[in-house]
């Protein structure tokens, strides 16, 4: 006895809502990441960015989602986010020739000259560190979602061995 495969019909309301919500969710995620201009918000913003992609995948199916967001892109983003975050720390050391500590943003003179020490701190934390964390979190969440969703489809095609 094989389980009955239910085929969902495409629903215009769901399609249009998802398409409309997708950019708005991305924008909101970006606002959470960099809008506050201070520490924090990287993880939350990244999660919101990931929900946009997860919504897209849920509505249009894993195959379409895979074409839009392949695994190599996920890997790139998760690495790139860490490079941004970690690199911001190293830039602080490099720009001061080792006089300032890792991630000591107030010593980041190329920015600090223009906006002041506190300004440099908040600028770099929100635009580099938070964005870096956000990208990594987003890529990791999407990748995990794919792992779960993809697996299930594979198993269904093979007849559900697991």
């Amino acid at each position: 006895m094989t389980p009955e495969r239910r085929v969902y019909k495409r629903d215009v309301i769901i399609d249009v809502t998802a398409k409309l919500m997708f950019p708005l969710t991305l924008l909101f995620g970006l606002y959470v990441m960099i809008g506050t201009g201070g520490t924090g918000g990287g993880f939350q913003g990244g999660t919101i960015l990931a929900t946009a992609f997860i919504l897209y995948i849920t509505v249009f199916g894993t195959k379409t989602g895979r074409e839009k967001m392949p695994e190599s892109t996920n890997t790139f983003f998760s690495s790139f986010g860490l490079f941004l975050y970690n690199g911001a720390g190293w830039l602080a050391v490099l720009f001061t020739f080792g006089a300032a500590q890792w991630l000591n943003m107030s010593a980041f003179w190329p920015v600090a000259d223009y906006v002041g020490t506190a300004g440099a701190r908040s600028f770099l934390v929100s635009y580099m560190v938070s964005v870096g964390i956000g990208l990594t979190v987003m890529a990791s969440f999407v990748s995990q979602y794919f792992d779960l969703a993809w697996k299930e489809e594979d198993e269904m095609e093979e007849g559900g061995e697991g």
Binding site: S72, T75, F76, S78, S79, L82, F83, N86, G89, W90, V93, G98, A99, A100, Q101, W102, L103, N104, M105, S106, A107
Partner: protein, 505 residues
């Protein structure tokens, strides 16, 4: 600020950087991650030598991350103990990586190679992080990184490794939960997460039930991670079915770093005064250790699987470390034995797991009864196995003898003579279970072996596997002389001073 002071954070930060770079580079060529990891870890090894030199000549490194002042910001503190452990961890990771070159090809399917090396590098980053940090919450973050990657690395072989890995996930998560709960309780009582700051604030609160409860929770949580005797149940299966490289790395350094958390907790967050005056925990620890030593050895005797026997032997050896920790409340020789045994066991057990992996790779044997005549078929691996086993038994010219001697001196100094009996008895038990293997290797003839002996000289293994194994085996002998000579005295005195233990060698 001196350049050396950047090195701890350079090691940790660059490790993460390297791991993610390897993930990207893996798309270009599957062999590249191995070389990148090897080069970067060798670089870290050189840096860690500079750190040790600085720590011994100038003093502890205190590094304020992001320039925030310590009670509020995260601080990395490296004193003699950290630097010593950091060198051990980095060198074992390098040797494990060299060993993995051909071992991984044999035990792990090709498509997983990139992620395997990335996970190894991430685990290394976690271990380095735990070693250099001076902040309890930051330590939790690195603890999680080191543990999560360890779960995945045990499961990477698939098949029979999956169930033990899942057990480990459950037990390890409970351990991490208890650790973080304990830290939360301490934070609730003191309002700080910095170890040095907490050490200053805690003495007024030593009778506080919240503080004592937090201490108990952290100890139990870390004990699960470091498989101290009653909490060891996840460990034997994991070490048996994990890839040999991972068994060797985890038994040598992963568990040492987990144990190091206990050392920091006892000596740098709390004081020995708290342990032996307020909660009377020291003698309990000693008895727990005695049971662990004997029970681990007895279980090891009745195993038929070689790697499983080594896993139980590890449980017994963790008992030695715990005994050293317990006895350090009475005598500084306990700390000396503990510190010496961290290195001796890392070297010895790493070598044993590597040779067990070599036996499996070349002859496909996992059971002890199949080891017949291996001394003829694989002379170098068998020799390495025998020397490392001799070190763990504690036969005089080897390293294990020195640490057992220190522990016996500690028991005598503390007037706890029952532990001398336990140590001598456990040496005998160690001899029994290692002799079962050595007897099979050298003194039982194998019919096919004599035929094949003519065809093949040496082990038939690549140098990348034999090299690390033989290096560790020779280190077992060299360290035996180093510990008993004056060479290690400056380091040991510095460690004793940094841990706040009176007395010097």
């Amino acid at each position: 600020m001196q350049l050396v002071e950047h090195f701890p954070v350079l090691i940790v930060g660059l490790s993460m950087f390297t791991a993610y770079t390897m993930l990207l580079v893996g798309f270009l060529d599957r062999r590249l991650p191995y070389y990148i990891a090897l080069i970067m870890n060798s670089f870290f090894f050189i840096l860690s030598l500079f750190i040790l030199d600085y720590v011994l000549t100038v003093g502890p490194i205190r590094y304020w991350l992001g320039g925030w002042r310590p009670p509020w910001g995260i601080e990395y503190v490296v004193d003699a103990m950290n630097a010593y452990l950091l060198i051990i961890v980095i060198s074992i990771i390098i040797l494990g990586l060299i060993y993995s070159r051909s071992n991984v090809k044999h035990e792990i399917e090709e498509r997983k190679h990139v992620t395997f090396y990335v996970l190894v590098q991430l685990m290394a980053a976690g271990l380095y992080g735990i070693t250099v940090t001076g902040d309890l919450f930051n330590m939790f973050i690195w603890l999680e990184i080191a543990s999560l990657t360890a779960y995945a690395l045990i499961a990477v072989a698939g098949g029979r490794a999956l169930r033990p890995a899942y057990n480990y996930v459950i037990m390890g998560s409970i351990g991490a939960c208890l650790y973080i709960f304990g830290v939360c309780w301490l934070y609730a009582a003191t309002g700080t997460l910095n170890m040095a700051d907490m050490r200053l604030l805690l003495p007024l609160l030593y009778t506080d039930k919240v503080v004592q409860m937090g201490f108990a929770m952290i100890v139990v949580g870390v004990m699960i991670k470091a498989y101290i005797f009653p909490l060891h149940l996840w460990q034997p299966d994991c070490y048996t079915w994990a890839p040999s490289t991972i068994s060797s790395m985890m038994a040598s350094v992963h568990v040492k770093v987990m144990f190091y958390i206990l050392i920091r907790l006892f000596f740098s967050v709390f004081t020995l005064n708290f342990i032996w005056q307020y909660i009377r925990f020291d003698i309990l620890l000693c008895w727990l250790a005695a049971i662990a030593i004997l029970a681990g050895s007895i279980w090891a005797i009745k195993q038929s699987n070689l790697k499983r026997m080594l896993a139980y032997s590890s449980i017994s050896q963790m008992g030695y470390l715990l005994l050293g920790l317990g006895l350090s409340a009475f005598s500084y020789w306990g700390v000396v034995g503990l510190v010496a045994h961290i290195l001796n066991h890392a070297v010895g057990k790493g070598c044993l797991f590597m040779s067990a992996g070599a036996f499996y790779q070349k002859e496909g044997l996992r059971q002890i009864k199949d080891c017949e005549g291996l001394g003829k078929r694989m002379p170098f691996s068998s020799a390495a196995f025998t020397i490392a086993a001799a070190s763990l038994i504690g036969i005089p010219p080897t390293a294990g003898f020195a640490s057992k001697l220190f522990l016996i001196l500690a028991s005598l100094d503390a007037a706890q003579y029952q532990f001398v009996v336990v140590l001598l008895l456990s040496g005998l038990l160690n001899l029994i279970y290692f002799w079962r293997v050595i007897d099979k290797i050298y003194f039982v003839k194998h019919e096919e072996a004599t035929k094949r002996e003519v065809e093949r000289r040496g082990d038939g293994l690549p140098f990348s596997m034999l090299g690390p194994m033989l290096f560790l085996a020779s280190l077992c002998i060299v360290l035996g002389f180093v510990w008993l000579s004056d060479l290690s005295t400056p380091l040991m005195n510095q460690i004793l001073a940094n841990l706040g233990v009176g007395g010097s060698l």
